[in-house]
Amino acid sequence: MRPENYEAQRQPPSNEYELNFGPNHPGIEGNYALKVKLHGDIVLEAKADGGYLHRGFEKLMEQRLWIQNIALVPRICVPDPSPMELCYSMAVEELCGLKVPQRAQWLRVMQLELSRIAAHLFTFGGHAATTGMYSTMYWGVADRDLLLDLFEEFTGGRVYSIYNIPGGVRRELPEGFLQRLTETLDYIESRLPDYDNLFFKNQVFVKRAKGTGVMSREQALEWGVTGPNLRATGLAFDVRRDDPYLVYDQLAFDIPVEESGDAWARTLVRRKELMESIRILRQVVEILPDIHGPIRAPIPNPLAWNVPAGETYTRVESSKGELCYYVVSNGGPKPYRVHVRGPSSMHAVQVLEKMSVGSRIEDIAQTMFSLDACPPEVDR
């Protein structure tokens, strides 16, 4: 019972205080929290706190038949669910040696790029809202709805399209769909100058975003940053180009980069990516009518489907960054283990914690939105 055996309880200095930033806070993305220690308005320490949202996706997947997981995985990322379906399906296809028909691959690209645009519009809205610009949010959500209308039309679901299935996709395009897709793309493109005026060129936003949440390229690489956040530090790495899947190697698109590595740069990269996605989709509209054939490779009866034993690691470029699935099969009717590397699990934990330190409390929300962190990917 000697006092030196015990750590003394250190009293915090009277000018420091702790604050729960979330889970119920307009400035936080999703059900997520940061426990922050503050000195005045300056953040001294931040601790990410997930666990308020979905739990145990990976464990749930072990309890489900291979086919059943296609309805579960989109829920890991609500704003951008399509890459989840695709990445999981790609893993199963690789384990089974399924060859996905060409047409299905083009349809998948179309779905992914539509999803990317929808996700970016959503993020811009959220980001603008953190700086008090609610009109951009209203516009972003309303314009995203036009894309959801397209999703509803060709996949049957507005948000969770559940369109991919191991082997291909589940539906042919409805009559005249590509025409309507083109019209929607024209409309979105015509809206971009309005977004620029209201948001991207808005002095209020520019002043707030420039120099906020800065990371260097070295830091980004060390912290496992991917996607637009990495490209905002000047490194042009994109899975679609550097480890191509589907038919991305047959498509012409650029990888936008920015150098400054701050919230402004990250937002600008996404703004430019929107253009690239539209460019890709216009190529799909051009080429898809000439690609004929089946849209799905035959798969066994899903109630009696043993995927051959083995393990695989698949990755795709989601709107948030590099999304990966590590899937292990022991030759049984259900996955033995699935690990999801959601890009946000890096962005919303170690990156956000480190970048918040030293910033003002009102910049935490902006930093998080500029990282486009999606809490369910952390809490998977």
């Binding site: 038949l65 086919i67 309005d194 899903p302």
Partner: protein, 618 residues
């Protein structure tokens, strides 16, 4: 492969933003141009969903068979199969009165239930609004019908298409001998599945259990199919022996009611349940099968003795069940070898007799004693059996052929199919006709026609066999495969022909006269064929074979017992357990329930259970 695309055309307004550009304090004010624009949220009425929409369920109750595949594939256990009493329940045709009820607190509208449905009964609608007060919280658990969950049809949304269909509707092809390879011999026609084929075929099963319900002996087909899929063939045999000790036989010649009820058969080809059973039985070593069959056999003797007359499927199944329960069983068989109708009625190209021998060997290895060549009624009387045994089972089959009794049918060259088939098995010589005419359209008619065709081919190098039947081709009693193979083998089939007379000249049979059949049954459904006398044909023949049905030879019972027993239309009257009106005598198989091997096996189980129960009460 991508064709060059004019990049300039792709982006109509390529807006780029530079850091320097950003900065005008007035630019946000440009949004004021939208001030008077109508909000996108107006109007507020619900809008119709897309044609492909995944909304609330629709279920065509007429089409749905209650197979519960939707329940099995549901990710969220949102589907519960509930009994709908006013709907029909028909196990023979694979229909249950279960229908899916959906818990919309769980459903995620993934539509896997739609894509797997074997009947295409379930689909999703374009309806997407449901709300309720706190008190009506149970209203989220709903039994949808063809009008949707609120009875207001909103139109069809997500339907099954060929692209989204998750079932494999085509069975694995079975390797078979070609007509020219098989016509001059009795080699087995069907080759059986390879390992890979069997696993793929087994994987087509959705485990609905319709086959189990339809099978007379309720074989655990879903379980053994599952075991085959999992590669555990011994386990498959174990499941098979739970309900059928004649699995080599049934794996080859069963009438497969299971496949008629198979839910995959609603839109595609049913799972080859019979061939899978055969595959499992053929794949496991015979000695191992004996060990598996012996599992669970009683390790004591009850001291009760049972006599069974007839060593066919019914008699031997009864014997198998009774010895497993510790009773001692002796089977009396009048013929030279055990096996009954599978040996003496079914030709070897369908059922090689060594496979039958294996089934019988398993049964005798359990301790069943079979005494062949003993004719009850002559070598031993029923009275003796009654005195020496605790119970007696009559399983004598149908070994007497019926006659058309047309003029000339008593000629010595007018023969019974069942008699010729027996002689073929026993290698008893008879004169092979150069031109044969068979009367009958059932499987026995096909069996004798194809047997004679083979013998003609061997002896004369050509086939001249004609089959005439009362029924039209679409109503033939014979298996369609039999008819197809008959034709491949050069046998001519004349449908809707009624035999009128066997034409005899100078005491020599020269043919069969038939008339065209107008109708077979009268308005009350009684057998009363009507003919078109103008349409007459003479089928040249030096032998006419009658294959129009069989009856049992009940002479062995003796006058006293025949008198004491109750009869119904010439057949022994039995209760639901197979017991006759005499308390020590049971009857099973074809002689009481008509010809069918799997029904005979089911009978055997039933009778054995009844005897065991009765003996235990003694």
């Amino acid at each position: 492969m991508s064709k060059p695309i004019d990049d300039a055309k792709l982006s109509k307004q390529n807006v780029t933003i530079e850091h320097e550009e950003a900065g005008s304090i007035l630019s946000p004010l440009k949004a004021l141009q939208f001030f008077m624009r109508k909000p996108v949220t107006v109007p507020l009425e619900p809008r119709p969903a897309a044609d492909n929409y995944r909304g609330f369920h629709l279920n065509d109750h007429e089409k749905c068979i209650g197979c519960s595949s939707c329940q099995k594939v549901c990710d969220n256990a949102a589907i519960t199969m509930v009994k709908v009493p006013h709907l029909p329940e028909d196990p023979i045709n694979g229909v249950r009165n279960l229908r899916p009820a959906i818990d919309y607190g769980r459903c995620c509208w993934c539509a896997l239930c739609v894509d797997i449905c074997p009947t295409s009964a379930i689909s999703l609608s374009r309806e997407y609004v449901h709300t309720c007060t706190q008190e009506e919280i149970d209203s989220y658990f709903i039994l949808p019908d063809e009008t949707g969950i609120h009875g207001e049809y909103y139109g069809e949304g997500w339907q099954k298409t060929n692209d989204s269909d998750l079932l494999d509707l085509n069975r694995q092809p079975m390797a078979e001998l070609e007509a020219e390879e098989r016509i001059d011999n009795f080699n087995e026609i069907v080759a059986g599945y390879t390992d890979q084929q069997a696993v793929i075929e087994a994987s087509r099963c959705v485990q609905c259990g319709m086959c189990h319900d339809a099978c007379p002996t309720h074989m655990d087909a879903p379980e053994y199919i599952r075991s085959i899929w999992q590669g555990n063939l011994e386990d498959a045999v174990r499941w098979i022996y739970q309900s059928n000790p004649f699995s080599h036989v049934c794996g080859r010649v069963c009438t497969h009611r299971c496949e008629d009820a198979c839910s995959i058969g609603r839109r595609g080809e049913p799972v080859s349940i019979r061939w899978l059973k055969r595959y499992a039985m053929d794949s496991v070593d015979h000695e191992r099968i004996k060990q598996i069959a012996a599992e669970g056999k009683a390790d004591y003797l009850s001291g009760k003795q049972i006599a069974i007359i007839g060593a066919g499927p019914a008699g031997l199944t009864t014997a198998y069940d009774l010895v497993r329960k510790g009773h001692q069983v002796t089977v009396f068989e009048a013929r030279k070898e055990a096996g009954g109708m599978p040996r003496y009625g079914i030709p070897e190209y369908r059922l090689p007799y060594d496979m039958l021998d294996q089934d019988i060997d398993v049964i005798t290895s359990m301790g069943v004693k079979i005494q062949t060549g003993i004719q009850v009624g002559k070598d031993i009387t029923m009275a003796q059996l009654e005195a020496d045994y605790d119970a007696v089972v009559l399983a004598i089959g149908l070994h007497l052929g019926r006659s058309t009794r047309v003029p000339g049918a008593d000629h010595k060259q007018v023969r019974k199919a069942i008699d010729l088939l027996r002689r073929t098995t026993d290698d008893e010589a008879y004169e092979i006709p150069q031109k044969a005419v068979v009367i009958g359209g059932g499987n026995v008619a096909m069996d004798i026609a194809r047997t004679l065709a083979r013998q003609q081919q061997q002896q004369f190098g050509q086939v001249q066999v004609t089959v005439t039947a009362l029924e039209e081709m679409s109503n033939f009693l014979a298996d369609p495969v039999e008819i197809k193979e008959c034709r491949e083998e050069g046998i001519e089939i004349y449908d809707a022909r009624g035999p009128q007379a066997c034409i005899i000249k100078n005491n020599k049979l020269i043919g069969l006269k038939t008339w065209k059949v107008r109708s077979i049954f009268d308005e009350q459904g009684r057998f009363a064929p009507e003919y078109d006398e103008q349409d007459e044909q003479i089928h040249a023949a030096d032998m006419v074979i009658e294959a129009i049905g069989q009856m049992s030879d009940n002479n062995l019972l003796g006058d006293d017992l025949t008198e004491a027993l109750e009869w119904q239309r010439g057949r022994l009257s039995i209760d639901g357990q197979g017991r006759t009106s005499v308390d020590w005598l049971w009857a099973a198989g074809d002689c009481v329930n008509g010809p069918d091997v799997v029904h005979a096996i089911a009978d055997g189980h039933r009778v054995a259970a009844s005897i065991d129960e009765w003996l235990n009460q003694q």
